[in-house]
């Protein structure tokens, strides 16, 4: 079946990122103090191989098979999420949560990672099977349910970071399916209301502004009543919701606003990460030489804060290169999504973009205190088998989509 060549751009960018990531992981293990990161690059090397095999396998699977498999995969991942809620265990920066599935004491993976991909497939299948892009609130009930179920289950674990990824996927795919930006904005308004509800004056102003927007845009009666109701409801439940958050989540959100409030405990990660990055300067302290990492001041330097190692040792220059590579990855994937042969493939690739983008922005952002700290890995960098394989599966899908579109006559460049 091999006709046209593989999408070389995607392969090059992905391989660059993977090697960059592996090199960073190796450095993360080079410490003067024994840490858990010491030998991880060996194991990541294994995942590296497994991931490439998975990528090649998926590349050889017809997209129609994926479309056909989507509901089953989705149902299976939701089932796993249910299981994990009952018997899950915690790890890393979120020791107390239930995000890991373990068998006989071995943690074999986080079902939420699988659920992300399954949701992308399911949503792509659902949206592409419709004649029109959703135009009003009732049209959005289906997509909202598809994303909402795993979203809420992940939130229950609780894993705020992964839950955010579902939100990212949801908005990205709706946008790509052609939902009007106005409607997307209106859907985001309950979230804005939730954030502003902690300040009564700001929230009151927001409701006035929101009413003015509704008057100007004149959406369907049903829509605006629901959106208004949702905004007011969010304002009302904000405080009870806050008190229901786990203390570590509250601390993380609070320390995001002011890391110095509790420098030895909750704010420790945020401060030490910034110190490591900030001390890197233009060119960094040199590969494997970063003192903050070497002396174990930098926490979780092989998982959630792997990017801080880049910042400390390779400086702003290294950060710029890494971020540029990610930008190129997104642009390459975007072109693949644009040129896909069918809406399902296109939506699927854009969903993958949404997944990656949320991960990268949140993870990199939190290392410089631009985003609150949520335990969320950096694609192709962070140590961890299940997420790494999921990422390569996604890349395999994207390669397949690129291949198919070329086979149907798109030029190579």
């Amino acid at each position: 079946m091999r006709g046209p060549a593989i999408d070389r751009n995607l392969v090059m960018v992905s391989l660059s990122l993977m090697l960059f990531g592996l090199a960073t992981l190796y450095s993360a293990g080079q410490t003067d103090v024994p840490t858990r990161a010491a030998g991880v690059w060996h194991r990541q090397f294994v995942w590296f191989g497994v991931g490439i095999v998975a990528c090649v396998v998926v590349y050889n699977v017809s997209l129609r098979v994926l479309e056909w498999l989507a509901p089953a995969l989705y149902a299976f991942s939701v089932l796993l999420l249910g299981v994990v809620l009952v018997v899950g265990t915690g790890a890393g920066t979120a020791e107390s949560s239930h995000s890991w599935l373990s068998i006989g004491g071995h943690q074999i993976g986080q079902p939420s990672e699988l659920a992300k991909v399954a949701t992308v497939l399911m949503l792509a299948r659902f949206l592409s099977s419709r004649k029109e892009a959703p135009r009003s609130l009732p049209d959005l009930i289906g997509p909202a349910l598809i994303v909402g179920v795993p979203f809420l289950m992940v939130l229950k674990q609780p894993d705020l970071g992964s839950a955010l990824v579902f939100v990212g996927i949801f908005f990205a795919m709706l946008f790509w399916s052609g939902v009007r930006p106005r409607l997307l904005f209106l859907m985001a308004t309950p979230g804005i209301s939730l954030l502003l509800a902690f300040n009564t004056l700001a929230w009151g102003l927001w409701i006035i502004v929101f009413v003015l927007i509704l008057i100007a845009w004149r959406p369907y009666v049903w829509d605006w009543t629901m959106f208004l109701a949702a905004n007011i409801a969010m304002g009302a439940i904000a405080m009870p919701l806050w008190t229901r958050l786990a203390p570590y989540q509250q601390n993380r959100l609070l320390t995001f606003l002011n890391p110095e409030a509790d420098p030895r405990a909750a704010g420790y990660h945020a401060i030490q990460s910034r110190v490591a990055i900030g001390s890197g300067g233009w060119f960094g302290t040199g590969y494997t030489e970063g003192p903050q990492k070497r002396l174990a001041f930098l926490p979780e330097q092989h998982t959630d804060f792997v990017f801080s190692v880049v910042g400390e040792e390779l400086g702003f220059l290294g950060v710029f290169v890494a971020l540029s590579l990610f930008l190129m990855l997104f642009l390459v994937l975007l072109r693949i999504a644009r040129r896909a042969t069918d809406p399902f493939s296109s939506l699927m690739v854009f969903g993958i973009i949404g997944l990656f983008f949320t991960h990268v922005f949140e993870n990199v952002g939190m290392t410089v205190n631009l985003m609150p700290i949520t335990g969320i890995p950096l694609p192709l960098f962070s140590y961890g088998g299940s997420f790494f394989i999921i990422c390569l599966l996604c890349l395999g899908v994207a390669l397949r989509v690129a291949h198919d579109s070329r086979a149907s006559g798109y030029p190579d460049t």
């Binding site: 052609g178 922005f361 410089v368």
Partner: protein
């Protein structure tokens, strides 16, 4: 599905591209701000994260005697410190340390308390660790994270307990002292002088601390020493040369009878202190590296109060040696001359009004001139002389002669003597008409009453008698800026007083201590002590015709001044005639010599006034009030 035509996709892709680039710019901006704009701030944080300053103790300046012999010096020592990230981990490591070397539990509590005050500094475990301790800890270094062993100069007093009150001792600066800024330049952990010369000349001796950086990891454990940052070497302190004669100092310690409390001090006529000794004494070396709490408690609760420097911090009624002051006053005022006799002979007492005031000698001295009265220490003679002078004149002249002032020796915490400032003092103290001017006059004329002096102050007065009639502020290192003060006596009068003091030795109360090889002049005294046996005084100088050294001694509960005299005479002989003259010291022989029929006992002071201890306390509070004003 509609809406996937290339035109609309292109529009959406443009929006998406914009979002990606915007996100890229935002992230790059955030990193640029952190890494380039705020680089210095975070670089500093990173350095303070991992570098811990460890202060380097400067070698303290030596204290030398006048011939360059060592009173205090430094020898290499080792300190053991622990770096810890929390008090819990410090406690855990201390428990492990206890497995190898003993650390008592009170000390552990102490260490942890101190650690809490300065978490980023290594906690001091042993200030002065022996080689065995170092070897044992080094051997188990792998299980003792944060262990810092540092070579440090440590203080050594080769003469040990014989120089304790003179040299003082060193110890870590306390928080109270730091707050009061009593030691300018000292920081937490600095070793400072706490008493004696170490305290007085601390600024000169201490030097400046250096600093060294060590690199630690996130758990506060030592990673490597001598990290990138440069270290600052400590500046050694300056040595001081004293006027002390260390051999004399050691000699006094060697002859001092065991378990006797008291003091001895030796001055030259120009005010140089040759020896300064207080008993009971202590070993100043026990303070090096931190005294154990049990030793500290023992020193502080011992009823003999070994930390008290009895030369400058104890006051005694001056008793018979004060008769020379009364004589000096009378001579200066022209009331008497050497041959002057008092109207009444001594018949063992003297009738005044309807009361009899007794002399210490029940048989009486008979008719005496001044020299005879001093030699025999006749109370009746001085009662009459005191009455001729009058209380007001005695008080005035006492102030003039320096009995109201500190000696001014260069040691801290000298006590002021007690001496009334004027007659009004008694009215303030007891209320007008509640005290007897007559009885008080008699008491004052034999050195009792509201008059207590430190040993150094009395010896200072005798130094004035021994020299050309001027008293000089005694000093150990640097002469005082205050000018010498004349006693106001002519050369002839001085000569006469010296002769009376020679008579004391030749045929008077101290005849038993007389030695043919050295002409000593001196005066015994027995200070009445309401709390027990009387205190004995002896102040003497030699050679009598051309004094080179003035030595004063006091022994508490010695009953008689004659007990003290042989010790003072021995000290004078040791200094002037050299070690050969005194030979190897035999304590028993010295004590036997004190068994003599000639003893002056203290006359009971008149029980006219309230307990003198209460009076002294009242005096002190009055004085404090005056200073406060």
């Amino acid at each position: 599905m509609n809406g996937f035509d290339s035109y609309r996709l292109r529009a959406r892709a443009d929006v998406a591209r914009l979002v990606f680039v915007a996100a890229f710019v935002v992230l790059c901006g955030a990193f640029f701000r952190t890494q380039v704009i705020q680089h210095d701030k975070f670089q500093l944080k990173a350095v303070t994260n991992r570098l811990r300053p460890i202060s380097l103790t400067p070698p303290r300046g030596s204290i030398l005697d006048r011939h360059g012999r060592v009173i205090a010096e430094n020898v290499p020592g080792y300190s053991v410190k622990l770096l810890a990230s929390s008090s819990d981990s410090l406690r855990a490591v201390l428990v492990r340390v206890q497995r190898f070397v003993p650390v008592d539990s009170a000390r552990v509590v102490d260490i942890i308390e101190r650690y809490k005050q300065a978490r980023y500094q290594p906690a001091l475990i042993f200030g002065d660790a022996s080689f065995e301790i170092i070897a044992k800890l080094e051997e188990h270094r792998s299980v003792l994270p944060g262990l810092v062993i540092q070579a440090e100069p440590k203080r050594l007093y080769p003469a040990g307990k014989s120089v304790a009150h003179l040299a003082g001792y060193v110890s870590e600066v306390t928080e109270v002292d730091l707050k009061a800024d009593r030691y300018p330049g000292a920081v937490l952990g600095s070793i400072v002088g706490k008493a004696g010369l170490e305290r007085q000349y601390d600024d000169t001796l201490r030097g400046n601390e250096g600093v060294r950086y060590i690199e630690v990891n996130a758990r506060g454990r030592l990673v490597r020493e001598g990290a990138a940052s440069a270290s600052l070497p400590p500046t050694p302190g300056n040595p001081i040369t004293t006027t002390i004669d260390l051999e004399l100092q050691r000699f006094i310690d060697s002859i001092w009878p065991a378990k006797v409390r008291g003091a001895m001090v030796a001055l030259t006529p120009n005010g140089e202190v040759r020896a300064l000794y207080s008993a009971p004494t202590f070993d100043p070396n026990s303070f090096v590296g931190g005294i154990s709490s049990s030793d500290w408690r023992r020193l502080n609760t011992d009823p003999a109060r070994p930390l008290l420097n009895r030369v400058i911090q104890a006051r005694y009624p001056p008793a018979s040696p004060f008769k020379l002051a009364i004589s000096a006053m009378a001579l200066k005022r022209g009331l008497i001359r050497l041959g002057t006799r008092m109207p009444e002979p001594c018949r063992g007492g003297m009738r005044l009004g309807n009361r009899v005031f007794r002399c210490w000698k029940k048989d009486g001295h008979g008719m005496l001139d001044l020299i005879g009265a001093v030699a025999g220490s006749c109370d009746v003679y001085f009662y009459q002389l005191g009455l001729q002078l009058g209380l007001e004149a005695i008080i005035q002249d006492g102030v003039f002669l320096g009995f109201r002032d500190k000696s001014g020796i260069d040691l801290e915490n000298e006590l002021s003597p007690i001496w009334p400032s004027s007659m009004a003092y008694f009215d303030r103290l007891y209320g007008p008409r509640h005290w007897s001017p007559l009885g008080t006059t008699l008491n004052f004329s034999i050195g009792q009453g509201e008059n207590t002096q430190t040993l150094i102050n009395m010896v200072k007065f005798y130094q004035g008698l021994a020299g050309p009639g001027t008293v000089v502020t005694p000093f150990i290192v640097r002469p005082s800026a205050t000018k010498e003060r004349s006693l106001g006596l002519s050369e002839k009068e001085l000569d006469a007083l010296r002769h009376s003091l020679i008579a004391v030795m030749e045929r008077g109360t101290a005849v038993a201590s007389r030695r043919a090889d050295l002409a000593v002049a001196g005066k015994t005294g027995t200070a009445q002590n309401p709390h027990g046996e009387d205190h004995g005084w002896f102040i003497g100088f030699a050679p009598a015709d051309k004094p080179e050294l003035i030595v004063g001694g006091i022994m508490e509960f010695a009953e008689h001044g004659t007990t003290v005299a042989p010790y003072v005479v021995q000290a004078l002989r040791r200094y002037i005639l050299g070690p050969a003259a005194v030979g190897p010291v035999k304590m028993g022989v010295l004590l036997d010599e004190t068994l003599t029929p000639q003893r002056d006992t203290a006359p009971r002071p008149l029980e006219l006034n309230p307990d003198s201890a209460a009076a002294r306390a009242a005096e002190d509070s009055l004085r404090r009030a005056e200073i406060a004003r």
